[in-house]
Amino acid sequence: MKNIYRYFMPLLLASASISSYAAEFNEVQAGRSTLTFAYRQMNVPMEGRFNKFSAHIAFDPAKANSAQAKLEVDLASIDTGFSESNDEIAGKLWFNTKAFPVAQFVSTGVKTLGNNRYEALGKLTIKGKSLDVAAPFTFRQEGPVAAFDGSFNLKRLDYAIGEGMWADLGTVANEIQVVFHIVAGAAPAKK
């Protein structure tokens, strides 16, 4: 069965992309989407991820400039790989998830950069602070499904992430790279 898919799916997808799927991608597949981050701690490269987030997007490559995106991240779902760190980061000095459980990104616009590259502009709100961010991403379509891959850097102290003793940037660096991989399906085009 698998082999049938392997050989026929690309054909199906190819024909589909030509005909009816130049459509709006708006059905996010949470199980296939990931939100990770990278940072440096004592100049050691570290990585982590958020296990729970919801994304709503509406992206039609033919009308990219009117695309919309909204992401909500359950900050308590952070996974740094260490339970001690996860507990610390949920605490008051970092995300203070009791008071601010959710981080939110709401797009204000999308720029077309060419060659399947775009840039999402929007407001990122963490811990009650909203700042403008610009996140370049690539758009890769495979028939009725598309992947949006991109990243942007934020400075954690801009959002007061890591206060008090953690504000020392010599230990945990200010720069945090946020990497997103969002998979979304298209509703079949209405003809």
Binding site: Q41, M42, N43, V44, P45, M46, E47, G81, F82, E84, S85, E88, M165, W166, D168, G170, T171, V172
Partner: protein, 183 residues
């Protein structure tokens, strides 16, 4: 009295530098392990790793020295079996001074925190991220540490015994200053 043949200045420097670093790394390891997560803990863990890598490199240098030099002989008042035991102990110490840093390096890789020597040079990960393996390696690292503690205890006790009770030249061979000739 014939002059004492001492270790070379290089061997003496490497020996005492290693001793000093172990004296720092061991209590540092025990202390940082008990600390609650804080910037201080992250710093101390890094320093501990840097010291471990340094000890590993110094041990390689000492083994290179051993290949090219014959250590000055022990006083012939020491029974042969004791001389052999001392030599065996020295080799075991070398083995641990290599294995302990490697076990720490493996543990760092398994726990997903690569070693960046002096904050400058990132060592390659020896194994992939694996929490269970990381915990196991931590146990091994700790067991080896206490093995080292026991061996160093014997090493130091023997040196003191020879110096103060037997009043022979065993320790003088390794002291950085004092009478004696260096080859």
């Amino acid at each position: 009295m014939t002059p004492i043949t001492r270790y070379t200045a290089t061997a003496i420097a490497l020996h005492w530098l290693t001793a000093l670093l172990i004296l720092v790394a061991f209590p540092l390891g025990v202390y940082m392990h008990e600390l609650k997560l804080s910037p201080l803990k992250l710093q101390l863990v890094s320093y501990h790793k840097w010291i471990g890598v340094t000890i590993f490199l110094l041990t390689l240098a000492r083994l290179a020295w051993r290949v090219k030099h014959v250590p000055p002989p022990l006083p012939d008042t020491i029974p042969l079996w004791q001389q052999r035991a001392a030599q065996g102990l020295h080799y075991l110490l070398y083995v641990l001074l290599l294995c302990i840093p490697i076990s720490g390096w493996l543990m760092s890789s398994a726990k997903g925190v690569p070693v960046v020597y002096l904050g400058l040079v990132q060592l390659p990960d020896l194994v992939g991220k694996d929490k269970a393996l990381g915990d196991r390696l931590q146990e091994i690292h700790e067991a080896l540490d206490f093995g080292l503690l026991a061996l160093v205890g014997m090493h130091v006790a023997a040196a003191i015994k020879h110096h103060f009770i037997d009043k022979d030249t065993t320790l003088l061979r390794m002291l950085p200053f004092g009478k004696g000739v260096q080859p």
